[in-house]
């Protein structure tokens, strides 16, 4: 074998894309390796779906109380589906990083020509793909068995106008959470950023119940996390701009609640993505400096 001693060639954009794609293929292959376990985990998603559908049948008359044109099934399934996706975006970078840390894969990946953005996308993207499958199960199950009304009046552009900045904002928070692995030595499976955002979003972002039912003293918390605007905006995008009563603060602002949601999400994304990246990169640099990048260092 003759090894070429000529100058090196940086990876092209296409090669970087191929590298991200190979992470997805790898993650899907690993995800479905133990088929029974994977199917069982999907059953967990179905179980969640059934619980909320039954609660809806039990007689929650949210449509009357909060101006929902659809029933509780539509309300909660939209919340569940988007929350599943946003949770994967939030936890993906952190989980991917600690997985690669504890498996010692981080060293071999960071010594490869993969750049830092490609590295973190590669580590997280599989979790997003998994979340998309779960979302499909939630929506399909809801439609087949629980009268989930598939939105027909929703505008695809509005849908994307909510989804893209929402994902960008939450990924920014996720990157900050991943930075905590090294900045705060949070290598044990949980970190303060992820914990705070997840706790707030699951309790007060309007995933399972409208924000208005919360005690007034804690309602303000919902405005801190992008999930609130994302879930509210998504419901409006899918079921019509006036399908439900807006969160209290938004209802006092002039203009369409959907537009406010999108603007807040855009502002959140514009701030969270670069800040999250800065925190993540600083964490990695700190680890390079003090030798904690991989478990064997």
């Amino acid at each position: 074998m003759s090894i070429d001693q000529t100058a090196i060639r940086p990876l092209t954009g296409r090669q970087q894309q191929a590298a991200v794609w190979v992470f997805i293929k790898r993650d899907l292959s690993l995800l479905t390796r133990f088929k029974v376990s994977y199917l069982t985990s999907l059953m967990g998603t179905v179980q969640q779906l059934v619980i909320y559908a039954m609660i809806a049948r039990f007689g929650l008359s949210l449509s009357v109380a909060h101006g929902l044109t659809g029933g509780y099934v539509d309300f909660v399934l939209t919340g569940l589906a988007l929350n599943t996706l946003l949770t994967a975006a939030l936890t993906g970078p952190y989980l991917g990083l600690i997985e690669s840390f504890w498996s010692n894969r981080i060293e071999i990946l960071l010594a490869s020509p993969l750049r830092l953005p490609g590295f973190v996308i590669g580590l997280s993207v599989g979790k997003l793909v998994d979340a998309v499958i779960q979302v499909a199960v939630i929506l399909l199950g809801g439609w087949l068995f629980f009268d989930f009304v598939w939105p027909d009046g929703g505008n695809a552009l509005v849908f994307l106008a909510v989804l893209i900045p929402a994902l960008a904002a939450v990924i920014g928070l996720g990157l900050a959470a991943a930075g905590m692995v090294y900045l705060l030595d949070a290598r044990g499976g949980q970190d303060p950023v992820q914990f705070a955002v997840q706790t707030i979003s699951s309790l007060v972002a309007g995933v399972y119940f409208p924000i208005q039912v919360l005690p007034a003293a804690v309602q303000w918390l919902c405005y801190l996390v992008p999930q609130t605007y994302a879930i509210d905006g998504m419901r409006r995008a899918l079921f019509g701009a006036h399908a439900l009563a807006p969160p209290p603060l938004i209802s006092h602002l002039p203009g369409s609640p959907l537009l406010i949601d999108v603007l807040v999400l855009l502002a959140y994304a514009a701030a969270a993505l670069p800040l999250g990246w800065l925190v993540f990169r600083n964490g990695m640099e700190r680890a390079r400096a003090d030798g904690r990048l991989s478990r064997w260092l």
Binding site: S29, S112, L114
Partner: protein
């Protein structure tokens, strides 16, 4: 960070290192056994943030160059700083001082170019493979990270697996492979990519003699034979001597000597080593030997057929009469000696002469 203004010479050198220093903070936790039980770990981690930071130099001012087409051996005991040094070159650790160039690229300012130029094969890195994927799938994964097109990737994987005798294991998963096969898989990953520079960090550690021989044979044939450059760290003298044209000896983060094996051995003196073989040499007898006139140091190592004997190597300033004095001293201590003879210095003797200790301690 102080970086000197060295200018690389990539035509001549594959690796250039000037005054590289890497230090780590070490903080002592609570001593074990204070009776806190499981709470020890909590208390210890709380206290460690209040303790004074102590810096430990893992790499302490290393200067060296690797010529084009040369495999430089980096020899030293565990903890000498060999792996830390390689990780600095591989951009996994940030230099605290000095400058280093790999394939002419600055490891601080041009990390992306450095990563394209080199391949690090670390001891124990096989654990980084995905155990749910086959050997072939794992190699495809890493080949893609290096931007190798699919058809070329397939060809190289086939070729490399054949060289390494792993063709029959291509569809198997890493957990079913032997330790030697896993190490070969790591080599396959590296050689499939074919970077101009290789860093081999103890590539035969943990392998049986046959597996180690196969890996060495592969390195000789495919790496040295192709004129590729690199650094090989090891604490096995025979390995360094077999594979490397030049050897650098490292201890406590410093390169204490560098040269061809022959040059290094000459620094000890050609006939200055006395080797004693005995069933057992008590430590107090060893201490007595060290005090005899003409003896610089005495180091013991298990050796001999089936490990039944110990081998004591005496580094002597003057062999005249020394053998007799040694024999008398051992006889008076009641030690039955199998043989006392002068012997040629090895690289281990060079290390002992420089540091007063064995590499394999």
């Amino acid at each position: 960070m102080a970086v000197n203004a060295a200018t690389p010479d990539p035509e001549r050198f594959a690796v250039e290192v000037y005054g590289v220093r890497k230090r780590f903070i070490s903080r002592e936790g609570l001593p074990l056994g204070w009776g806190f039980g499981d709470a020890h770990w909590i208390i210890s981690s709380l206290i460690k943030y209040r303790q004074e930071r102590q810096w430990k130099n893992a790499v302490d001012g290393v200067d060296l160059t690797v010529r084009r087409g040369e495999l430089l051996g980096l020899l030293g005991p565990n903890g000498a700083g060999k792996t830390t040094f390689l990780r600095c070159l591989a951009t996994l650790l940030r230099l605290d001082e000095g400058s280093a160039f790999v394939n002419g690229y600055d490891v601080v300012r041009q990390p992306d170019e450095v990563k394209l130029s080199m391949n690090l094969i670390g001891s124990g890195q096989w654990s980084a493979f995905d155990w749910g994927l086959t050997v072939r799938q794992n190699l495809h994964f890493f080949g893609t990270l290096y931007g190798i097109a699919k058809a070329e990737r397939n060809r190289r994987i086939d070729e490399t697996l054949e060289w390494l005798g792993l063709t029959g294991r291509a569809k198997d998963k890493p957990p079913t492979l032997s330790a030697g096969e896993r190490q070969k898989m790591l080599l396959a990953k590296a050689f499939m990519v074919r970077t101009p520079v290789f860093f081999l960090d103890e590539p035969t550690v943990g392998l049986d003699p046959d597996g180690a021989h196969q890996v060495r044979e592969f390195i000789t044939r495919e790496l040295i034979g192709s004129g590729t450059s690199g650094i090989l760290t090891t604490h096995r003298m025979d390995e360094a001597e077999d594979l490397c044209a030049r050897v650098a000896i490292m201890d406590h983060g410093r390169v204490v000597a560098i040269g061809t094996p022959l040059e290094l051995k000459k620094t000890v003196g050609e006939r200055s080593i006395l080797e004693i073989r005995a069933r057992r040499v008590p430590r107090d007898a060893l201490q007595t030997l060290r005090t005899l006139p003409g003896i610089r140091t005495a180091v013991v190592a298990p050796a001999g057929e089936e490990g039944l004997e110990e081998s004591v190597r005496l580094h002597c300033e003057d062999l005249n009469g020394t053998a007799g004095r040694v024999a008398d001293s051992l006889a008076s201590a009641g030690i039955a000696v199998s043989s006392i003879e002068t012997t040629q210095p090895t690289l281990e003797d060079v290390f002992i002469a420089l540091t007063n200790k064995r590499i394999a301690q």
